[in-house]
Amino acid sequence: MHFISTRLIWLVVLAGLFVLPFLLPNFRVFQINLMIVYAIAVLGLNILTGYAGQISLGHGAFYAIGAYAAAILMEHAGFSAYATLPVAAVVCFGAGVLMGFPALRLGGHYLALATFALAMAVPQLLKYKAIAPYTGGVQGIVLSKPNPPFEFRFLGAPLTEDRWLFFVTIAVALPLFLLASNLIKGRIGRAIVAIRDQPIAAGALGVNLAWVKTLTFGLSAAYTGIAGALGAVVIAFVAPDSFTSFLSISLLVGVVVGGLGSIWGALFGAAFIQFVPNVADEISKSAPWAVYGAILIALIYVAPGGVMGAFKKLKSGDAK
């Protein structure tokens, strides 16, 4: 019975996902695409900060590297949008491992400080005139969204680029989420948590701390880098000022809202950072950030487990 109902749920969900983009107006689909992109980025950060306990205030840097890698490959090397994703993954994995080595010696707020410095330096580095021929300098690079591979109409709505990209992002996000879920539940995940909670004991039990920590950094960066590349495709534009330190802070907000260490919580976190600014913008241009800051602080005091943590509490509360 239970087996059938899980399958049934998945079937319903998939069917719903197929239908959804055709029910919504195009710009909403675009917003949801971006939300899914952020979800992947937030998931990447959560792997590092929520699970492995290493605080990164600079994940926006990996997002930027992924985005620019994709844009440069598409603009200057004729890559298709889809082909940029694995490249972005590999490049950002390497960048993450590179960052992971000094991170080995830093803990807590020192790592936060180093990554914060990285996040702040990124826009300047991107604007650097010497590499402007590749990066487009201050103006960035304008791209075009990939065309859907075929003509299609459903429920009276055409398969636009954004609707096609909806399926693309889902196709990228789903395996990434499932992979993360499996990794965390498996040996690697247990090693990561062991290192986070009892590093000395973990070392004594034969876990190679340096390797696991560095690889975690790399994996986390790769996820966020893929998100960046996908984001570049979805928005069809990259520019240095899109990747300020506030992007890194947004990702952190997403992690905290969704719940530290929760895989699927990344969806809630992403929904928050995608849609709350739109609502708050109506009040004032600065309002979104005031709301972010207030929510960050409030959550840490009241519900450090974020949305998923609140769910868990409710569930265990019922069980009593």
């Binding site: 830093l106 807590g108 400080l113 410095a117 990285l118 802070i249 950030w289 960050l296």
Partner: protein, 290 residues
């Protein structure tokens, strides 16, 4: 040679600002072992308050001292209200609260005072009385003010009973409470003082870089570099570190990497110091903790 000296003096003037920020950061670090990521935004907010007072017709130096006083009280309140509840919480929670404060102060600056860049007039004459070919009037004045503030802080800590109590509370909170020092209030005072110093840095910086909500963002990074370079637990190391960073930034910017990548200098200094020289130049404690 001339332009070289120009860079040096300009670097020293900037360096005094970084020194002040670095000192504020070390003060909070010493007593709480936390890095105040919101230091820059709090300073910007205070600078906006000063600007508003001056716009309303308050004479410059009155506005200056009023703002410093308001910043002191503000910093104290922030510690009491926001930081104290998470004092014993894990590092991550603390970092998130600091980041939250950063964001709120930045947003409030924009919300209350607007996003447009504002001019901030310097109270000092345009031409310097000393070495006018190498240093502007404002640079000299700003150097003098920040050095004056640093001197006052030094004397405060060395010769006043409260300064001594704050030093004791920062070094050994257990023993400090055994001599009757209310340690938690000493932390609040430390925050107030750090916030006041930050306000001075902001007010001195505004005429140079113009005032907008993001004014202190990059400058805070230099403050971090100064604090780390001097040794994160050494307040006077941070001061020296600030001057070194200021001069280095200018020299490297003018002769080596170009002015666009100046922030990267800070980044390299920060990551480099943390990995290669965790104690900084003058620090005592070992930074590495995994």
């Amino acid at each position: 040679m001339d332009s070289f000296l120009l860079q040096i003096f300009s670097g020293l003037a900037n360096g005094s600002i970084y020194a002040a920020l670095g000192l504020a950061l070390v003060m909070i670090y010493q007593s709480t072992h936390h890095i105040n990521f919101a230091q820059g935004e709090m300073a910007t907010f205070a600078t906006f308050i000063a600007w508003t007072l001056i716009e309303r017709g308050v004479p410059y130096w009155l506005a200056f001292f009023l703002t410093v006083g308001i910043a002191f009280v503000g910093g104290l309140l922030v510690q009491r209200i926001f930081i104290k509840p998470v004092e014993r919480a894990p590092v991550l929670n603390n970092v998130i609260v600091f980041v939250g404060l950063l964001v709120i102060f930045n947003a409030m600056s924009g919300w209350i005072f607007g996003q447009t860049v504002k001019a901030f007039n310097s109270p000092f004459p345009t031409t310097s009385l000393v070495l006018p070919q190498y240093i502007s009037g404002h640079q000299l004045g700003s150097l003098g003010v920040t050095l004056g503030v640093l001197l006052v802080v030094f004397l405060f800590f060395k010769y006043t009973p409260i300064g001594l109590a704050m030093r004791a509370a920062a070094q050994n909170p257990d023993s400090a409470s055994l001599v009757g020092i209310p340690v938690s209030w000493m932390l609040a005072l430390g925050w107030g003082l750090a916030s006041a110093i930050g306000a001075v840095a902001g007010i001195m910086m505004a005429p140079v870089v113009f005032l907008d909500p993001n004014m202190m963002g990059g400058i805070l990074l230099y403050g971090f570099a100064a604090a780390l370079l001097g040794g994160i637990d050494n307040p006077w190391g941070a001061v020296i570190g600030g001057f070194i960073v200021g001069v280095l930034e200018n020299i490297l910017g003018a002769y080596v990497i170009g002015t666009e990548l100046k922030l990267s200098v800070a980044l390299v200094l920060i990551v480099g110091t943390l990995t290669l020289m965790p104690n900084g130049l003058f620090g005592r404690k070992v930074v590495t903790r995994v």
